[in-house]
Symmetry: C2
Subunit: 348 residues, 2 copies
């Protein structure tokens, strides 16, 4: 893999990750961009003991542009986009509308966009297994590098797919947030570990691995619907040994992540006649805390509860955090397992 | 106020609350209803230390019926609904698709529906101030009675309004959940109080009351946009003295709740040309915990961030609980305050 770092016209970093080491990425960003603003501000909510980032400059961010104005396509035929090069494999760049930047007075961190392919109309599950493997290496690269930034407490790669979970851009891409604090969800997890003991995540794996909710058992990972799933579709993936984050995963583990993750995404799109919206969240150990107890895990969730219905977070979930699940996790697991088994196992 | 308790055909309780004590509610439910099922099950999520209720029977609940099949209208002209009487003021009954019931083996609690008016096409803000006052008394009545039920730990009156926040029925109504556990949000609040000290909520009131985010200062309550608002529209209301729940509010406080709450709802519907969806959440002290420290408060939130745009909870909020606000709370307060000031102050 060849890695080329460059700068966009407004000073933001862009990094090309190419499978073919012969690819040269020396295109210059010729757009007349004004410097990025970041009025992001971290506020402390004393009621719940959580930070809230106020990023009002994001209100004007690009929203569902037509395909021929997509800012994530390569720059071609005289049309200049966020990616100066005329092609790319995987590319990462700093978000122009970031919630966190290294330059902010408060809320120092970084928000990156990861484009999985230059092909606007492809989705993650349609990537080649080689490309998915490259993406996993990119996530690992970014986790390692962002963890070293001053002030960064936690690195989080994720993908939102589908209009129902906030598409603002249709081009296949994910994001990476490097937060200046440990997020509330991870704080809860650390509290659970403190109260239960350091073996919590290993014990959860053992409990789930022998349940009827297992979807796939790999050599390095087990994929399952959790006992207390909150969403109509919820898939977790846990490594068999203690791996704190993607950067710490070895080559065999990364290869298996690529295979299993793509297999799950393909299954999700077989559940209904139309693509299923999802949020794929890669939970990792914080940079300075719980390195020996918080294990890397994927939480893939979808609000879809029927072909034409979504679960909405109403009074109980949204205001109280009290979840009422509509689907028995065992029933959901049956359906997803069947969809996985319908697929030919990828040879590559 | 006259209070009449009766039973529906399947044994569920229905309670009429009438402003005119001469109203007699003796209609019998003549529907051939099978007994309600509740397969609700409480599951413990060890990862986050939270209960999740699995209520798969809710998957088949009534979903957006046409107005002439509304189950919350009174029974008239031979059409039998959930309310046997041919008219009502405010009526409360046990949900036919409950997340919690008194009869469940696990997850004992109760879920009630509160119809604010028999008029299908009215919304809460259009109720007379006398009717809003009745609704406040009904919430107080239910809080007191449900708190006495065996196993109930926490009582929560709320209203979801608008298709965007999960309308399943268009008729103006709210709900009351009596939970068999203290919800995660309230557990967080208890933890904040434990770490800050018992004066937390009074100190928040003092801090907000002198901020530029105040919307209305009443005799008994202050209405404001909080410093660390998560939603594009978020309005809180805190009492000036320590009131743990609606049942503990005195007559003067209840009267002011009715006036201020309706005033805020009217303002929200002036922000745009179409009605603004909202979740109105009445936070109360748990039944057995924090009675001296958790103060009654309203949190009214809306995901609307522009005339045609909603805030979606994507990767950061949904999976990590890390909120990125799109609107400065001070700017939101300015807008809502102007909308409040456009209204004539209700004389009644």
């Amino acid at each position: 893999m060849r890695r080329t770092s460059a700068r966009l016209a407004d000073g933001r970093e862009i990094i090309y990750f190419d499978q073919d080491c012969a690819d040269v990425r020396d295109a210059v960003d010729r757009r007349p961009l004004s410097p990025t603003m970041s009025a992001s501000e971290l506020r402390w909510d004393p009621l719940l003991g959580e930070y809230v980032a106020i990023a009002s400059h994001r209100q004007d961010r690009t929203y569902l542009p037509p395909a021929d104005e997509c800012p994530l396509c390569p720059s071609r035929d005289g049309r200049l986009t966020e990616i100066p090069s005329s092609d790319y494999d995987v590319v990462v760049f700093e978000n122009r509308f970031p919630a966190f930047t290294e330059r902010a007075p408060g809320g120092r961190g970084r928000c990156e966009v990861v484009c999985f392919t230059s092909d606007h109309d492809r989705s993650f599950r349609e990537l080649t297994s080689e490309r998915v493997r490259t993406v996993v290496d990119v996530w690992a690269d970014r986790t390692e590098e962002l963890s070293r930034l001053d002030g960064v407490r936690w690195v989080y790669p994720f993908e939102n797919r589908g209009a129902e979970v906030r598409v603002t851009l249709g081009h296949p891409h994910g994001q990476i947030y490097a937060y200046p604090y440990v997020t509330p969800r991870t704080k809860n997890l650390l509290a659970s570990i403190a109260s239960y003991g350091p073996s919590l995540m290993g014990d959860i794996l053992e409990f789930e691995a022998k349940s009827e909710r297992v979807l796939v058992t790999g050599e390095h990972f087990t994929v399952f619907v959790p006992f207390a799933a909150r969403w109509p579709i919820e898939v977790h993936m846990l490594p068999h040994r203690h791996v704190p984050d993607l950067a710490a995963a070895n080559a065999g583990e990364r290869a298996e992540i690529a295979v299993l993750y793509r297999r799950v995404l393909r299954a999700l799109d077989r559940l209904y006649d139309t693509p299923t919206p999802y949020i794929a969240a890669w939970h990792q150990a914080p940079v300075h805390l719980g390195r020996d107890t918080v294990r890397l895990h994927l939480e893939l969730t979808s609000p879809r509860r029927a072909a034409d219905r979504l679960k909405y977070l109403a009074g109980s979930e949204s205001a109280m955090g009290a979840w009422i699940g509509d689907v028995r996790p065992e029933d959901a697991a049956d359906r997803i397992r069947r969809a996985i088994q319908m697929q030919p196992i990828e040879s590559v």
